[in-house]
Amino acid sequence: MSATLPARVIALASPITDMENLDIRLRADASSRQVALRAIAFSVVWLLVGSAFGLIASFKLHMPDWLVSNPMLTFGRIRSAHLNAMAYGWASSAMLGVSVWIIPRLVHTELRVPKAAEAGLYFWNIGMVLGIVGILAGYSDGLEWLEMPRYWADPFFVIGGGLVGLSLLSTIAVREVEHLYVSVWYIMAAFIWFPIIFVVGNWPTYSGVESAAVNWFYAHNALGLWLTPVCLAAAYYFIPKILGRPIYSYQLSLLGFWTLGFFYSLNGMHHLIGGPLPTWMITTSVVASGLMIIPVMAVGVNQHMTLNKRFGALRYSPTLRFIVFGSVAYTLVSLQGVFMAFREVNRLTHFTHVTVAHAHVGLYSFVTMIMFGSIYYILPRLLGREWVSEKLISWHFWAVGIGQTVYLVPLTVAGMFQGVAMADPTSTWETVVRAMLPGLIGRSIGGTLLTIGHCVFAWHVFLMFRGGKQKQGLPPFHEVAPIVTKRDKASFVAGGVK
């Protein structure tokens, strides 16, 4: 029995032994296995589809005559299809899988009504297919982040998300632990917040200025109250799990969660600075955006201090490498978002590629990287076998890591020049567009690298599902230890000190 047991017994409902602990974990994993595996499989398909759309859209920005004969391949449709495929197809499907896998483990019970969660996953992905086909066919709703047809596709997301949420919330309701770990709070809140903002955003009665206000209420909250909480939940689960030590300050983690809940929903109106909205709405949003420094720094400081003096772990664990990358990106993108919400900065960056780059730091560098890391941890434990190739993991990481840099840096710089040029009344529109070309070409090169990384990842996931050749002994299914890719791992004897 470890020395920590007394402390843990206090936190848990009843004393448990090592074997019971193992049994709980195995039962939890077994109960969520089917749903989580399918969610991961769906998400990887959408990752490839969304990447292809994104790449085409990116090339069109500096090759405007390319693929223009078919209306389905015009920029307006392809770009919307890209955003929706990545946000709802890839990221959200992966998040459903990660949530379904993490919650039973954290509440020490089996997933309840797994059939509902599975049905929810299918509903969600049927909605995705209908939505993407609808967008490509020209039936977009015409509102950013809400392009998928309101009546054909959106009900599937409400039902799908609701069914997965029902399964998760009923699992939490019958939990075997008294306290809710911060990751549970985040996931539980996300599955309550999302249906509210999604229904409000898609309500069919708005018009004019109100439509724009509701649109940005939804679009901003989709990132902050849906994608962000689940990804932070994953980070708060995997970082301590891999390091084998609790997070630096649990108080800070709770502060981060609750202040996100208090302040975030007010943020969206800063997208409409300069628009025909009441000034108090915009100002309230700017102030709330400033207050986001509290949850952001709480998360950033906490995760940094947890990892402090253990950065060597990044060389060993691909999960940690991706998740720490994502966590750092969360801090950066959030601080960038705070500054971009201020009127003086917003005047320069609004309607420029800075906003596009900022959105990609959020949805890619933060959300996508954390989902990659989560899948690297979860899949071997669900399939009962180790990742097939250390090299493929490494290629994936460096392709997407370098790809993001090549994508984001030129685009941000170009966007700043764009903002300055557009504010100059002597600049012609053509001058501004031509000045953007290097940034747009850099974006396409970066996007190509990202897509290569995605293909490597998808191939590796395929090998895992197919049961690729294993070179190791026992699978890590029962184990909690991180997956190590460092070549000299043989020199380490688990459980002992070499």
């Binding site: 602990n21 193992l22 509210i196 709770l254 253990r310 180790e386 909690v480 997956i483 459980g495």
Partner: protein, 83 residues
Amino acid sequence: MLPSSLTVTLATTILGLLTVAVFFLAWRRGQFNRINQQALLPLDDDDMNVARPWETASQRAERVEEFGPPARRTTPGIWGGAQ
């Protein structure tokens, strides 16, 4: 002024009040008690008393002091089979 802001005002108020209500409910139910122990919830015993290859000698000693001696048998593959 009101027609353009009514929905967003109501929606943010509902979300905010919901969060405040759940916060106080959680407080009353004791969710903020025993904070330091809660931090251990995701960790199993075998998370804590298995030394990590990246840890320094002092960090390993610290782990033994905090969580007890390494109790795990060596299981091939747990530290990675990806070759």
